[in-house]
Symmetry: C2
Subunit: 342 residues, 2 copies
DNA sequence: TATTTTTGTTCAATCGATTGAACAAATATA
DNA sequence: TATATTTGTTCAATCGATTGAACAAAAATA
């Protein structure tokens, strides 16, 4: 309750006997303002604890220096790490981010987009909810002239900048490794085929099986939301069938954890009887017993590159070409798939 | 790139042959505007896809309708659930939230506060970082006239609205239950004593031991950051000592998970040889083998009440009294502390 | 009919910062 | 000395919405 007054450029102008516009120019290092005045103004600004009014300058300049980030859920190391890195890069460039989560719900996602457009963010960096198939709201972002960058979950037809990993190749890494461990009957607990990244993982999985002349059984590709309960349910389902796989490739770590729980509860030796590989390198994968092999998606890089893609677009508004940055996945081999590490 | 034009009240006014101010008043249901005009204006607004310019109205009204939420980390069910509920309540009341995380770092926290004050949020709802002992930045929020509500981790001397649980009582629930299970040598993997909530848990633990005439061993109270590696390290330390506890009460679930891992790695039967209880009811506590007993902190309620405390303060700016809302903790008994459930 | 009240709208200032144009003073050039 | 150039500052409009005061027209009252 001490100094509620909040000083403005007017106050500074009054103290120094200048006009507000001179003060504004001095603070913005306008070339026509003398060094002496600039110095005096900046000192007075500090004296008066002056903070520029963000709203007024945003209004005048027509930009808010705010960037919205929409992620499916916050409670995931991958997404929170991406956001952290987006924030790091953008803060350095004078932007602040507004983080929102869709909870994997299309309706929530639309609402978040509306909110972000309402508060006039300069751009939106997003990863789409599992549910999302209708791209209308994303078209809306573009049609309003707001920049849009997608990462991880993004559709090509939107024709915007995208940062992700090579999901097709990830599956090859997984299958190649499992084959090298002697596995021949590899099942895939997959994400939904209507989402590009999961579709790519499925495609890579199929092609890799074919590459190694392994049989492709369609009831060994089971799509789901990849929550922990999905992993549990589907693993149980696989065990209930007459023929067991000798390896399971899960398109998400959380679901892989669920699968692992069921395997252990059934006293199945991992990896000896059934090997297991997840996806995303969530921290807990290194902490389970046995630890879970997984794919590193380079979340830090993704965040950094997504932020840089946004900045580049802001700085070159007339740029027409679209960037698609595809990072190389990395297989992290742990106990759940390697007899040697056991 | 279709309709970049973004219509304003001017456009509506031009279409209807009115002045911008009449349009503004019509949209805000001013009593002196005829119903006929109001209807026409509202229809035209829809026709032109008019969206009020948030920045200008915020500037004029002197409020942004934005609320900053600072949490130590996003990657925790407790905090993300609180945020979700804050958001739910505030969205209904026309506010949007900006979520930021301090990563438990004091420096980051200060920076986040500066950012939020810069973009002129109407209030800040925060839970303090583990590192924070200097309250200067929080004083700053108040002195700028921005509303402040704390939850979970908050200090009384700041004299602001607070929502949390009764941490002292939580420890009693834990100790009472452990005693009922026949435990007599209860250790406490604690949070730092300089943070009020952890201090309260320690105090409750001590008093509860005394209540049951159990010996209090000071080297069985070990403070830490409560990360997973802290739980592991301290559990190992307890096992390396000559006398083992027969129960361990951990002030955080993540650290409890680390402790559980070490117990299992050492083939110690949980709860028969050593019982274990965590804190916060993180989802994974029900998924481990054995599942971990823990304290439910009512994160949904905390979020809702914190948001409501903010709203009440905004609506009654002259209100002087401070609300301290203390919820009752609930002990969730699972396998790690109950021989019956094993 | 004259006067007051009510109703519907416009006028003009405002929020705080920004910016091109205008202007005056100082300095340089012809 | 007269003119052109540079320099430092002020003027005034602007971003879009809001709001109290002012005003004119319509309706109600005396």
């Amino acid at each position: 309750m001490e100094n509620k007054k909040k000083s403005t450029i007017k106050d500074i102008a009054a103290v120094l006997g200048l006009t507000p516009s001179a003060v504004s120019k001095a603070l913005n290092d306008h070339p026509r303002i003398s060094d002496k005045t600039k110095k005096a103004v900046k000192e007075a600004a500090i004296q008066l604890d002056y903070q520029p009014n963000y709203l007024s300058s945003a209004l005048r300049k027509g930009k808010s220096n705010l960037v919205g980030v929409i992620i499916p859920r916050v409670n995931s190391h991958f997404f929170s790490s991406v956001v952290e890195n987006i924030e790091k890069v953008l803060n350095l460039n004078g932007y602040n981010i507004i983080m929102t989560q869709s909870n994997e719900l299309y309706a929530k996602e639309c609402q978040e987009i509306d909110t972000l457009l309402k508060i006039q963010v300069d751009g939106i960096i997003a990863s789409m909810a599992n549910e999302t198939t209708d791209l209308e709201y994303y078209q809306k972002i573009k049609s309003k002239g707001t920049e849009l960058v997608l990462f991880d979950r993004g559709e090509e037809e939107l024709n915007v900048d995208y940062v992700g990993i090579d999901d097709y190749k990830s599956s090859h890494l997984v299958v190649d490794h499992l084959v090298s461990q002697g596995c021949k009957r590899i099942a895939h607990i997959a994400g939904f085929n209507h989402i590009r990244i999961y579709k790519e993982r499925i495609r890579g999985y199929k092609d890799a099986l074919e590459k190694w002349n392994l049989a492709l059984k369609y009831n060994w590709i089971i799509e789901s939301n990849l929550r922990i309960e999905d992993g549990r349910r589907i693993m149980q389902q696989l065990l209930d069938a007459p023929e067991w796989p000798d390896a399971v490739y899960v398109a998400g770590d959380i679901a892989a954890l669920g699968a692992l729980q069921v395997l252990l509860e059934n006293n199945i030796k991992v990896p000896e009887e059934i090997a297991l590989i997840g996806f995303s390198d969530e921290p807990f994968t290194s902490l389970t017993q046995p630890s879970i092999s997984t794919i590193n998606q380079h979340s830090d890089q993704i965040g950094k590159l997504a932020a840089e893609a946004f900045l580049e677009r802001i700085n070159n508004p007339k740029k027409k070409t679209v960037n698609r940055i595809i990072l190389q996945p990395e297989l992290i081999i742990r106990q759940s798939s390697s007899k040697l590490l056991k």
